[in-house]
Subunit: 204 residues, 2 copies
Amino acid sequence: MITENGKTQRIEPRSGVAVELNEGDYLTIFDPEGMQVSDLVAVARHDAREIISNGRTFDYEETTRLTSGSRLWSNRSNPMLRIVEDTVGTHDFLLTPCSKATFEHFYPDQPVHRGCFGNLAEALAPYGVEPDAIPTAFNVFMNVPLKADGSLSVEPPVSKPGDFIRLRAEMDLVVGLTACSAYASNGGSFKPIDYRVDPAESDG
Amino acid sequence: MITENGKTQRIEPRSGVAVELNEGDYLTIFDPEGMQVSDLVAVARHDAREIISNGRTFDYEETTRLTSGSRLWSNRSNPMLRIVEDTVGTHDFLLTPCSKATFEHFYPDQPVHRGCFGNLAEALAPYGVEPDAIPTAFNVFMNVPLKADGSLSVEPPVSKPGDFIRLRAEMDLVVGLTACSAYASNGGSFKPIDYRVDPAESDG
């Protein structure tokens, strides 16, 4: 999908989109109502085999806590996105997008949903990304505290209405982006996510 | 490579192998000299698109600290390996295998090596695994303390000579396995790794 530049778009609850970015474009992701999560998967637009990698990002950034100044790296050791502004500072890059299988595992009494995984798979399929190739997403606003013993838990996001993260594309990209479908990730409710693309030539 | 069952094999320093396992087989990985790391990538033998996933493992195990009793999961939400015995208890599943690019980044004054990434790519190529598909490996014996602020560092392994981890194959697998090539991961020296396959019908 070619996104109209400079115009804020809405991702409806429990859905996803693909956003094309040119190198230098800015992508701003807003949490319009607060306490919502958006799973992000970046793919090189000219070769879908190059894809975002949590491991390479942890390698080069030497932290799991990614915020303003951090870069998100590809499996080929290239920077894909740089975080230029971040009003929240709490995101997750450890856990995979929710899927039919994770719904069955974590919410056995709830209706099964294809989740962010299914939404990302559909959004990125036209760009040649197979479902099996969808990696751990960068989970914007997701709150996954990690204890000293290594254990982790999914807590409600700390994002408030209007909070946002702004990223600069470091190469031509397609970005899969969702409004999260899981119960625990967003405090038990399903809300939209907004985003805006500002082209390279603007001030961002 | 079909490994001779019940016989300890050696992985020479800075190299890698592929090991075929049937469901129920036990794979034991030994650190013969101590303070060495072995990167492990598991692939479903009948469909190479199903591959080990750190994110799915963190999802289902709800911890980053994987040891006896933990399972290692695939991108399709299936258990691939179960850790049945572990004399060390410190492994890493956050960082990617060292590669030409990571050598250039972290050791600019040292000769470049293809690293565990290149060794895994060569070992797994006959099974249909493309280099771009190699994910974050389960880094056996690798010591990557994570601080409360999210920052991480690569420290020498705590493994002593003869320490080992034993895993049970939960499906038919090919496992890529290395003796680590990076300086920081193994305390600055390159050492071998030993392994042994015990078939399903034995006591393991």
